[in-house]
Symmetry: C2
Subunit: 206 residues, 2 copies
DNA sequence: GATTGCCTAGGCAATACTGCCCATGCCGGC
DNA sequence: GCCGGCATGGGCAGTATTGCCTAGGCAATC
């Protein structure tokens, strides 16, 4: 239960140097592995793909907080975003929350509040990382399937009530025996042991 | 593509009579089936379980908007909530969005904006209603299972890679033949035709 | 006390799946 | 042209599933 990795990483992205230094100091004191970046671009250059919480200034020169959030969502990074803002109002906060932000705080805020929210955000980020990892893993296994195999998978997933080789074969216009053959390859490549698990696995992919 | 039910229902819940009358008038003019309520309690008394969009005053006497939202979430009503507020700020909007609100507008707002947001909210409510209906339907079918049958379902869902009667029987300490028997009843009661579909169906239930 | 529902489990036959073998034909790369 | 991967299928043996029958034990209900 000790060693590196215990301290949840928190990335502070803000163009204000005072905020950066005071937040990182406060967070490190409370056991977080805090790192600061002066801009969205600097953060992106330094980000290594880890699960983490990102404390993001809403209004920054260059790429702003919302844009960075949109990028994080597009890329599927396992990051939980908490916005902090000096001049934002209700419309900005609503937009941020719609974009999947975990929280949104107005400056000035009490550091104890931020720390508490980061704790919650870290839970979200961890869960997201697990889901992401699982999803990537499953997707990688599906990559190994050939076109025909994928076609059979698609058909079975779309018709989980009719999974016999006979039905699938008739539907695809091939012999049941060939479906048997493909199915064996599919189970092998996906590292599963039953059609039930196949349907289960396929549901992981969105 | 015509007849009753085409107009998306919108419930306006606000203690201000002016808001109620102006909003319902504006919404009806734009093709919504708008109804107004002066309080959360009045809305709850009149609500019939339909999928709808609810425009909710954040700060109301009696049960306030947040409390009503929490109740809606608890009950799983197929409603999409849009808050409107006179005096709320960023913390209130964040809290509302965390609670699953689809939108949050400050008074005064342009009616065209509200109408547009209601359109989006209606999509959400419809999708939620479909999911809710499906979920209730599936749950009702699961209700018909006996204790032993449910135990077998649980085991299969937990171990989708090992679904043979032999394995299940060994694990539960009963004969494979008995598992066969239960399984046939399970498929019959759930109105499905394969174990794959069983796993699929079970995943619908959260 | 009879009935009903549930859990148990066996028999039997038809059907299906699985894992091994085999083969053919096609295509793309070396 | 040869080789490897892919899709197609057949054979065969062992195993599993499925549907239909029977039937005993047990608990609750009428």
């Amino acid at each position: 239960m000790s060693g590196p990795g215990l301290a949840p990483p928190v990335f502070v992205v803000d163009d204000d140097p005072d905020i950066r230094s005071s937040l990182t100091r406060a967070l490190r004191m409370r056991g977080f592995a805090a790192e600061a970046f002066a801009s969205a671009q600097a953060f992106l250059d330094g980000y290594d793909g880890r699960a983490a919480c990102v404390v993001l200034d809403f209004g920054m020169p260059g790429m702003n907080g919302l844009e960075l959030q949109a990028l994080i969502n597009r890329e599927g990074f396992p990051l939980a975003v908490i916005f902090i803002t000096g001049h934002g109002g209700v419309p900005e906060s609503v937009q941020a929350m719609k974009g999947g932000a975990v929280d949104f705080l107005e400056k000035p805020f009490r550091q104890s509040v931020l720390v508490e929210r980061i704790g919650a955000a870290w839970e979200v980020a961890s869960a997201r990382a697990v889901a992401e990892g699982r999803s990537r893993d499953v997707a990688a296994r599906f990559e190994r399937l050939t076109a025909r195999e994928r076609e059979i998978v698609d058909w079975i997933v779309a018709h989980p009530g009719t999974v016999s080789s006979k039905e699938v074969g008739r539907s695809l216009g091939i012999s049941p025996r060939t479906v048997d053959h493909h199915r064996a390859r599919i189970l092998e490549k996906l590292e599963i042991r039953s059609v039930a698990e196949l349907v289960d696995l396929a549901r992981v992919l969105d």
